[in-house]
């Protein structure tokens, strides 16, 4: 899983019917110290994350294991809102 920050929303009227009702957010990857990285992606939100929240993203086929996404055409899901990251290096 990767750490990321919510930076925007996506609205799409015409989409796969299994995505109806899904909340799509644009997130930007972060390193564990909170520094932004270059990559952006669109992820389905399953935990009611908000703008600028730091979140945990699961990618690939595992994203379909997030609640409510079974058999959905999804490869990235927000599965947690991060309270704290502690890094010792």
């Amino acid at each position: 899983m990767i750490l990321a920050r919510v930076v925007g929303t996506v609205v799409a009227t015409r989409k796969d019917e299994r995505l109806l009702g899904a909340k799509l957010l644009v997130v930007r990857a972060q390193d564990p110290h909170g520094k932004d990285e270059a990559s952006y992606l669109v992820a389905v939100d399953t935990v009611d994350a908000g703008f600028r929240d730091r979140v945990l993203i699961v990618t690939g086929s595992s994203a379909r294991m997030a609640s409510g996404l079974k058999d959905c055409p999804v490869d990235a899901a927000i599965v947690g809102v991060v309270d704290a990251v502690e890094v010792k290096e």
Partner: protein, 88 residues
């Protein structure tokens, strides 16, 4: 499977039901010379690993298998603590 060092912990109170009760760790993938290989990531721990330990982990769909029959939505799981390893 890949080698990594545990470098930190993640706390998230609001999370997917499948992740409740799991331990989330920040891991840094390693090259054979123990230098960093690519960016760090967050993995679910299935073996009781701790910060600064060397571990091996699995990526992808298989990362949720250690927790079966529970359905844990993760794409990375620590599945072993390395006692020692050497290359070449």
């Amino acid at each position: 499977m890949f080698l990594a060092r545990v470098v930190g912990t993640v706390v998230a109170s609001r999370k997917d039901d499948g992740l409740v009760g799991t331990k989330l760790l920040v891991i840094q993938p390693l090259r054979p010379d123990r230098t960093a290989s690519g960016p760090p990531l967050v993995a679910v721990d299935s073996v009781g690993a701790g910060v600064s330990e060397e571990v091996f982990y699995v990526r992808g769909r298989e990362a949720s298998f250690p927790f079966l029959p529970a359905e844990v939505p993760t794409d990375a799981a620590i599945i072993g603590i390395v006692d020692h390893w050497n290359v070449g």
